[in-house]
């Protein structure tokens, strides 16, 4: 006997998409863990106590600005420029937030308040790719990406780094420092599913790198992220596909929209 489908038991395609998401999340969690470990070490070296390092990772929860803050605290910089720098370093999150907002509009406000706090580069990349694959919002998928993939490993690794200190080997010797850019690039490849996305990604990479050399990475990355999509939009829209490629169990493409319209029209006809 087949159990009826319920909200608790997602459809097979959603289950497959979540399995894929979990696999991708595992790769990101390794990257985040390595990065968090290095942050814990940096915070310890900058004079942060374990409580201060953990507060930073829980409340700020944005690696680049946390690293910068640890460096500036170690250099004796006052707090005001650190806070201003934090704003600029993390302004790119607005792009992610704006990108996800149309999908999040049906979610109750209190939940959105919490979901916003755990929105990071990695959480956005994982969840956007997941939503793109399934063609809709999946709230558990977002929690998997943001909390399981990023928040938990980041904070556990911070604690490990700040407590274990100098007894850990240098992560850069193992190549772990490239995991973050490699993961971001890999996720961009996953999102570049059409000509427009490909052009936006390529332009973002070139502009982001060029502007980073001129005005520094914090703003250069944002400029790349803002201007890349404009070039993507300039690419002519792809022609409408003649049929839905994944709509027939036999593997033959079927014009599913036309088929539905045909059935609706038949159903609307008066009975003889």
């Amino acid at each position: 006997m087949t159990a009826p489908a319920t909200l608790a038991s997602p459809a097979p395609d959603l289950r497959a998409a979540r399995r894929r998401l979990l696999l991708d999340t595992l790769g990101i969690a390794v990257s985040v863990g390595a990065f968090g470990l290095v942050f814990g070490l940096a915070a310890r070296n900058a004079g942060f106590s374990p409580i201060e390092a953990v507060a930073s990772s829980v409340l700020v929860f944005a690696g680049a600005s946390q690293f910068a803050a640890a460096g500036y605290i170690a250099a004796g910089l006052p707090w005001a420029p650190i806070v201003v720098l934090t704003f600029f370093l993390n302004a790119r999150h607005m792009l992610y937030s704006a990108s996800l907002a149309p999908r999040f509009r049906e979610i109750p406000l209190p939940k959105r308040v919490v979901m916003s706090h755990v929105l990071t580069d990695e959480a956005f990349a994982l969840s956007a790719a997941h939503f793109h694959r399934i063609g809709r919002l999946d709230i558990p998928g977002y929690w998997i990406a943001a909390v399981l993939g990023v928040f938990v490993p980041w904070n556990l690794a911070t604690i490990a780094g700040v407590l274990l200190g100098g007894s850990l080997p240098d992560p850069s010797r193992l190549g772990l420092d490239i995991v973050f850019p490699a993961a971001m690039g890999g996720l961009a490849v996953g999102l570049a599913t059409g000509r427009r996305e490909l052009v936006a990604a390529g332009a973002g990479a070139i502009i982001g790198t060029g502007m980073s050399l001129v005005i520094g990475p914090a703003l250069g990355i944002i400029v790349g992220g803002l201007l890349g999509p404009l070039l993507g939009i300039a690419v002519p829209a792809p022609p409408e596909p003649p049929a839905s490629p994944d709509s027939d169990l036999a593997g033959t493409p079927v014009a599913i929209d036309a088929a539905i319209a045909e059935v609706d029209a038949l159903a609307a006809e008066p009975a003889p």
Binding site: F48, S56, S172, I178, A183, M184, A188, G220, L226
Partner: protein, 110 residues
């Protein structure tokens, strides 16, 4: 144990949270025109590619400013991208990229 920097963390949170939350919490975002929604859809690949490229190719120069840097890190990231595009498997791509960089560094090539 010192807790003074907890206040700094709170201030940094206050500087970060609005960027993350305002578009998600602001009403009316769904009434954006289709062109704006298309733009937002393209922001993801663009900003992630920008982040990946700048993190790999821009390093701190001895004088403190940004400088172009083409090293084994770029080869590792490129290897990862090729594997992800070919096999559609991020974890495998990361393992390949990381192994390449670790091997080069252990061999003294970088």
């Amino acid at each position: 144990m010192s807790t003074q920097l907890v206040l700094l963390a709170v201030l940094m949170f206050a500087a970060t949270y609005p960027s993350r939350a305002l578009p998600i919490l602001a009403p009316g975002i769904e009434r954006l025109p289709p062109r704006a929604l298309l733009y937002l859809r393209l922001v993801g690949p663009a900003v992630l590619a920008s982040l990946a490229a700048a993190s790999t190719l821009v390093a701190k120069a001895p004088h403190g400013g940004p400088a172009f840097h083409l090293g084994v890190e770029a080869a590792g990231v490129l290897a990862c991208l090729v594997v992800v595009a070919w096999r559609r498997n991020l974890l495998l791509g990361l393992v390949v990229g990381l192994a390449l960089v670790a091997a080069a560094r252990l061999a003294g090539l970088a």
